[in-house]
């Protein structure tokens, strides 16, 4: 599909030295398919590095604190936006893949600026997490908005899929449960890319 294409993965976290994660494993999977993967993520210092020939990591730093997690993520996205926009100006991406609501403001911004489709993976929803923090309502709102704006939504568990359909009103045809019936989530993600690019 994307084959020799290029995708922009936007995520708050990309810890290559840590335990296996969906974003890390997806990057390696897509790189193995010959896709050029650019990852924009947040970290303690600003840096760019490559993992092999196909994975290019662009880490940004954000220096401001905030009084709540919603505000911090919304403001931290400014740096994700800057880096993503710079990459979009230099490269021709096929699509944008956003991980979680914490990177959504950037994903929708660059998607609209450069007329590129975007897909979002939601690990869970605020409702499931049930954190009940001060700004939970705002987080739920932006999660809903992220699903509304996305071309496709990938979830990794049935609960999240159910919440999206029944609480957020997302059409079921827009959601892929990437782990359904023992499927390989990375192959399923690749299928979502294909569907998106063929639409």
């Amino acid at each position: 599909m994307v084959g020799t294409g290029r995708i922009l993965l936007i995520t708050k976290d990309f810890n290559i030295q840590g335990p296996s994660s969906y974003v890390k494993d997806l990057s390696f999977f897509m790189a193995g398919r010959g896709t050029d993967v650019h990852v924009v993520c947040y970290g303690n210092e600003e840096c760019d590095y490559d993992l092999g020939e196909k994975i290019h990591v662009h880490q940004v730093r954000f220096i401001l604190g905030a009084n709540n997690t919603y505000n911090w993520h919304m403001l931290m996205n400014n740096e994700l936006k800057r880096k993503s926009r710079e990459l979009m100006e230099k490269n021709d991406f096929d699509l944008i893949h956003c991980i979680d609501w914490t990177a959504y403001p950037t994903a929708i911004g660059v998607s609209r600026m450069f007329d590129k489709p975007y897909v979002i993976t939601l690990y869970s929803t605020e409702k499931e997490r049930g954190l009940g923090v001060y700004e939970s309502g705002m987080i739920s709102d932006i999660e809903w908005m992220s699903t509304y704006d996305a071309g496709y939504i990938i979830t990794l568990n049935q609960d999240t899929r159910n919440v999206l359909i029944h609480d957020y009103g997302v059409p079921s045809g827009k959601i892929t449960l990437a782990t359904e019936n023992g499927k390989d989530p990375y192959e399923e993600t690749e299928h979502v890319y294909e569907r998106m690019l063929n639409n």
Partner: protein, 385 residues
């Protein structure tokens, strides 16, 4: 130039001075030939041509909002989406953002559109209420972030410029002082949009305060001064216009001091009524404890009336002592009483001060000049000169 402004208030919906500032500056910029688009919160999403060629883009309201800092980051997201749409139709040259509540929007738009940012800071949390908890620290941090991310920073007062520079460590070459201005036409209308007898008796002298009913505006000091003024000038009536968190407290205070019949609290008054009040008043008092600019003194002067105001911040510039009004020591009710008593004795002097004030405004605080200076900062930002 094609300029995108972001603001949280615009006339007729006014809370502080930002609304008038953005409206008057935008109108003056339009007269200079610039294309002005304003992103602003609204009750529904709509686009409309407004004051003399300004295009307003109103955002849908935010629900579930927990506090104003969270509101500011949430509305920023909506403004960014709108900015992208407009930028794709025709590129903006500058984004100009006002006040901390618009810092998330201004900085986000700058990062996404790669358009330079000008930030006008109208006051600081440090000055307004102090930084003493996570919420006020967040506001303070957003103010810093705005000055840090902006290509150029505009402050509205000379003292205030130094305050911002020292508080946020802003480099010399990116911080500028450009004052607020006054639109004279509205003060020259032959018609008054309020009747004097609705506020004071025809035998009474009107001492006007207008502004937010909050501690930093120093209303409590004016109230403390009232008994002494009434003793010397029993025909004085104080009209305290505005709303705010301390309004009921002030009402109770004048009642307990036995001067309720000498005081009128009309609450919030619209622009037309405010102009009429300035013109009908014998004098205006601005007893602020913190005032980055002090537009009240200029508006009173535009109405040819003198102001007695604290010798602090912008009021040091907007009042010329013994020439357009009088200064008092900030936070000193005795000083306020002395100066008000002095001025109430002499109607001719008040008229002379008022006429001087009007000329002072005409020479220094006209929006066409201010728009010209602002355009200079836009040009510097774009590297044109």
């Amino acid at each position: 130039m094609r300029i995108l402004m972001t603001t949280w208030e615009y006339p007729p919906d006014k809370v502080g001075g930002v609304a008038s500032h953005v409206a008057d500056l935008s109108k003056a910029l339009v007269k200079m030939g610039h294309d002005i688009h304003i992103l602003i919160p609204g009750t529904e999403k709509k686009e409309e041509l407004y004051d003399k060629g300004i295009t307003m883009h109103r955002m849908e309201p935010i629900h579930n909002v927990t506090d104003m800092t969270t509101w500011s980051t949430a509305i920023a997201h909506r403004m960014e989406k709108e900015a992208i749409k407009l930028h794709k139709q025709q590129k903006f040259d500058i984004v100009h953002t006002h006040d901390w509540m618009m810092v998330p929007a201004g900085t986000g738009i700058k990062k996404l559109l790669n358009v330079p940012l000008v930030f006008t800071i109208h006051s600081t949390e440090h000055g307004r209420s102090g930084v003493h908890d996570p919420y006020t620290k967040m506001i303070n941090d957003l103010e810093w972030y705005g000055t840090y991310e902006a290509n150029n920073v505009i402050t509205v007062g000379k003292d205030f410029c130094r305050e911002v520079q020292s508080l946020f460590r802003v480099p010399d070459d990116k911080i500028h002082y450009v004052p607020n201005g006054v639109e004279l036409e509205k003060f020259d209308s032959p018609k008054l949009n309020a009747k004097r007898e609705d506020f004071v008796g025809d035998w009474e002298k009107m001492v006007l305060f207008c502004g937010r009913m909050t501690y930093v505006k120093g209303v409590h000091n004016l109230i403390e001064a009232m008994p002494s003024i009434v003793r010397e000038h029993p025909d004085t009536k104080f009209v305290l216009a505005g709303k705010g968190p301390d309004l009921e407290n002030y009402r109770g205070r004048v009642k307990s001091m036995g001067i309720a019949e000498k005081t009128l609290f009309p609450g919030y008054v619209d622009d037309d009524t405010l102009v009429a009040l300035y013109r009908m008043a014998d004098l205006t008092v601005a007893p602020s404890l913190y005032e980055p600019f002090g537009i009240v003194a200029l508006e009173a002067a535009a109405a040819r009336r003198p102001t007695i105001g604290s010798y602090i911040g912008g009021l040091k510039e907007t009042i010329v002592h013994e020439h357009t009004g009088l200064h008092t020591w900030a936070g000193n009710s005795g000083s306020i009483a002395d100066q008000v008593n002095r001025m109430l004795w002499d109607g001719s002097w008040r008229n002379w001060l008022g006429e001087n004030g009007r000329r002072y405004v005409e020479d220094n605080f006209m929006w066409n000049k201010i728009a010209y200076w602002t355009t200079g900062i836009y040009g510097k930002t774009l590297g044109i000169w």
